[in-house]
Subunit: 440 residues, 3 copies
């Protein structure tokens, strides 16, 4: 079991990694889109782990500058050659159809068909992922090898899809804490068979939710599983009042591959979550880079739009668009690794731990150092070197003037938050420290 604020053992990581990967594998075959039964089925599978509430927002609903689109569902799609053989088959891979393709059933020459075919010539074995949500269109995605092998001639083309009034579905799991101040964890759940983007995020968010369930928490936690862009916009439009309670937030995506961590800061750039993530990643033992905010990427775009300006950053391993497998069939279950999923979950749990415990304290003996020795909090024979835990106690005592949070102290001392927090516990128990009255 990965606990909050504790370094997990290797066996825990391995076991948790297996569970996470298994859950991603379970979700992999489903053909998700921004609406439809694929995302509904996905949300139901998450419900087996946490009591997710599923919301349906009708097609045509105005959501700020946008409108909830018609619902898209697909049952089958193929291209058959002259012999009647399926040369491109949706049943083999959900990426084979242009996502949101209109229904069609016709016969076309290869020349006519070509303008509806998408491949990646530089990776001839990979199927690209393409969508056309807002421009009515149809098409197929296939490997370039498949395309090159197609002889001239006539083909039967069929997409058995529907685009009709319906609803946009999203899932929400609310874990109430001591206060109504909220931490938002948001993942997009609209990509079909793509593992890193974003089954990794779905799996880690689900298990993080499970991990927090039943814990005594200071903040309330809101996990949202939504279609990308239109889903975040819809959620914000339907939850403007709720959004006001968000104090910290994370978008999770691409966190299962072998790459080091990347944390993209919120638009505010110095929000507490930005400092927390920088701290946790610095002490994570993995390569990690902090990226400046930019107004493109994932749903932090919406949370960080100027009307909301929420303190929401984005945690990734490899950055979207920078790895060749991105938005192709090569982003498959082999591309994500159990241990990496588990370590990503651990980093999220660590961040929660810092958020939960980052309070400000007052040294009760602020004039000179208190005598730690008589409380058995020091060592009794002078002359040697003192250790990290003693340093941490001195730092906490020295900076606990009501102006510095524990995270401030961790940053200034260079010590890990957990070490500082341990010192805090010892000093509180010894009567040398008390929580400062909140003033904000």
């Amino acid at each position: 079991m990965i606990a909050l604020g504790r370094e997990p053992g290797l066996e825990d990581l391995a076991e948790r990694g297996r569970e996470l990967h298994q859950f991603a594998a379970e979700l992999y075959p489903i053909c998700r889109s921004i609406t439809g039964n694929g995302i509904r089925e996905t949300l139901k599978k998450i419900q087996k782990h946490v009591p997710l509430e599923i919301h349906e927002v009708k097609s045509g609903t105005e959501v700020f500058d946008w409108e909830v689109p018609k619902e898209w569902n697909i049952r089958d799609a193929y291209i058959k050659d002259a012999s009647g053989r399926r040369v491109v088959d949706f049943q083999e891979h959900t990426l084979h159809v242009l996502n949101y393709s209109l229904p069609i059933h016709t016969r076309l020459t290869l020349g006519e068909l070509r303008q509806h075919l998408h491949t990646i010539p530089e990776h001839p074995d990979w199927i690209p992922y393409r969508t056309s949500y807002y421009k009515p269109d149809w098409g197929f995605c296939l490997t370039d090898k498949q395309l090159q092998a197609l002889p001239e001639g006539e083909y039967e083309v069929s997409i058995d899809s529907t685009l009709e009034d319906g609803a946009l579905s999203y899932g929400e799991y609310y874990l109430p804490g001591e206060t109504g101040e909220e931490v938002l964890i948001s993942v997009h759940a609209c990509h079909p068979s793509l593992a890193n983007d974003n089954l990794s995020g779905l799996a880690v968010a689900t298990f993080l939710a499970r991990l927090l369930t039943g814990k005594k928490l200071r903040y309330s936690y809101r996990f949202v599983f939504i279609p990308g862009t239109i889903g975040a916009i819809t959620w914000l439009a339907c939850n403007r009042d709720t959004a006001k309670h968000i104090r910290h937030g994370l978008v999770l995506t691409c966190i299962g591959d072998a790459g080091g961590f990347h944390y993209k800061k919120s638009r505010r750039e110095d929000a507490e979550i930005d400092r927390v993530m920088a701290h946790v990643l610095r002490h994570s033992g993995e390569a990690a880079e902090i990226l400046e905010f930019s107004p493109y990427g994932y749903d932090e775009r919406q949370y960080c739009s100027p009307g909301f300006n929420l303190p929401v950053g984005c945690l990734m391993r490899s950055v979207w668009g920078t790895f060749p497998e991105y938005h192709t069939s090569a982003d498959n279950l082999h591309f994500i690794q159990p241990e990496k999923l588990a370590r990503s979950l651990h980093v999220c749990a660590e961040a929660v731990n810092v958020l939960e415990n980052n309070r400000t304290y007052l040294n009760q003996s602020p004039f000179c150092e208190p005598q730690l020795g008589k409380r058995n909090l020091y060592r009794s024979t002078g002359g040697g070197s003192i250790h990290e835990e003693i340093h941490a106690r001195l730092w906490v005592l020295n900076l606990s003037d009501g102006q510095h949070s524990l995270l401030d102290i961790a940053e200034r001392s260079g010590l890990a938050f957990a070490v500082i927090d341990d010192a805090r516990k010892v000093l509180c128990a010894g009567g040398l420290l008390q929580e400062a009255m909140a003033t904000s």
Copy 2:
């Protein structure tokens, strides 16, 4: 034609470079000083391009801690050897006479003459530039080769100059804009036959003035062509009220040589002009360095004196005093290059363009991203990479909260101001952006 805010074509640069260099060449032979007919003749030549107003301030006028000096004029000067041959001849080069030399006509032995002769032994072919504005003196400047070739014996020495009550002349060209807030462009016009310092500045300022003439401008522009130091002091003393309207300013000097750009910041260090120049130079495609303010250099010394503390920086290519040709006859018409003059003019035009357009806007659809696609401002098929102009639109939308100017947005995004400004135009046209009410 070099337009504001547009990258000039190579032919435009070449043509404009020829014109600038030709104008410098026209001014080169004139013997200028801080007063007298040389600077008057120079100002009249500028009047052929822009309707400069010429001001005369009488000798003896008190200007702050200084006094306008007597007017110096010179007609001829020479040293003749025993055979009556002019061995140093003012008619050959204006630098041959110590600027502001008192009149003299006498006969001296070489030994007596020597203390009045100035050379540069380490550059034996160059004539130094020397002045003695405030200590009555006379002298000749010559190449060290000339000096070494002088035989012992008696010489006839003649300086046909006058130092009498008269006036200090300066030129001013005021281009009114929509507001009374002013941009100051200041160049010193007192150096005799020295090309980079400062015919380059005179030429670029003249052509910049011509370029802005007839344009619809937000700011008013004031070009001043003045003698260095005493001219700037005189101008400030005569125009204390005008100085209060200066919002941005540039001193232009040494901007025709082959070196990269140097911009010396104003005393304020973070004035808008300082940020504008840093931005424009960063995107200029040339090597560029930003220098901290220091209280010596050119007339920014006066504009940035603590009583005024105006936001005036100094644009140079090679920095005065750091190149061997500085203040010698080697700073001639070969030392300045047509293309470099044209590119300097372009950088100034760019800076004007940023100043003119650096406003603050309000996103009219601030809750989540507006749907750019339905306005044909995005692309309709997802999955690919988005381009600079789309990025620019997203940045402008995201940061247009009334707190960020377009320059702020350009800096934070890393995009060129022109790209950001194009996005601004498109978004304004699309109804997604409006200028924020000025509040300062």
Copy 3:
């Protein structure tokens, strides 16, 4: 004589170095501790140089969270072998006894004795320095070679010490200045025969006090010679009102060895003393490093506790705990060097000089540059390069707007404070500058 604010000559350094080292040598043999006659004798030797007041604080006095301990005195201590020969002898080195050892006189086998013996196996010729102030104990410190040479058998062990009600002694020297604002110089005086830590600090503080005596001073100076930790706590407890007057302070320790300087900043990190020391060390001509504050080290721990938060930093050469000789008999009179002691004294004098003279001035001719030439403060012939003293005058004039202290000007200009201060004097004498009215 090392004067304030002047670079000392080599002969001055040599002479002063000899005096400092000689004083350290005089103090070296005394067995000091945090209480007792050793520190009293030390304070009396300082009294020969400056009229130190010696204070006695009774054992049992409550000082914040601590209590003044019983007084420890020692006359003799030894370990005798079976033949009656002293194999470990306190008369040979004060470090041989565990500081604050309880009295004992008994016979023990080597096996029983061993748990009371301290050595440094990795430096077999050095005696360690060990203390046990707060845990009743006894013991001996010896070289590892001595230990290895001890045969099995029975030993006579004697420590002729007393631990009884008495007092904690400290010395204080107060030099009144024009204002009641104080500069604190604090050194610990409790270590026995250890030269760098802290006879170097004792010697430099004593000679600095002598140097300042009789000078006309702006600040009042308070030199305290105290036992480490408990002494600083006692002093602060007895002088809470006095502490309120401390504007700047330095703890001096380990400043006689051959290492470069280290200055550890105060908890405030940007206190004037922090900036002063950084400036002085940058211009000291020696290697120097600025260290961030941390809540362990010397008595700055107490002065910088959150209830006081005094602007007190710590000046060292080699940092305590980082050199192998630290807290061993190898920190002897050979480990400290006369010239290094003298240069440390000079750095302290320089810091005092900056503190004394760091005022804010007003340019009396703030509009444009005043004409320095007519006051013989410039040079009369233009065209050459200007020198450091002229630069300094221009900087002082330019930034003397009532917002910048001389230290601000020194830092922004990159010039040494002494050069800036010289310019200030010249400009004040010339009527161009006046001290700004203090407003804080």
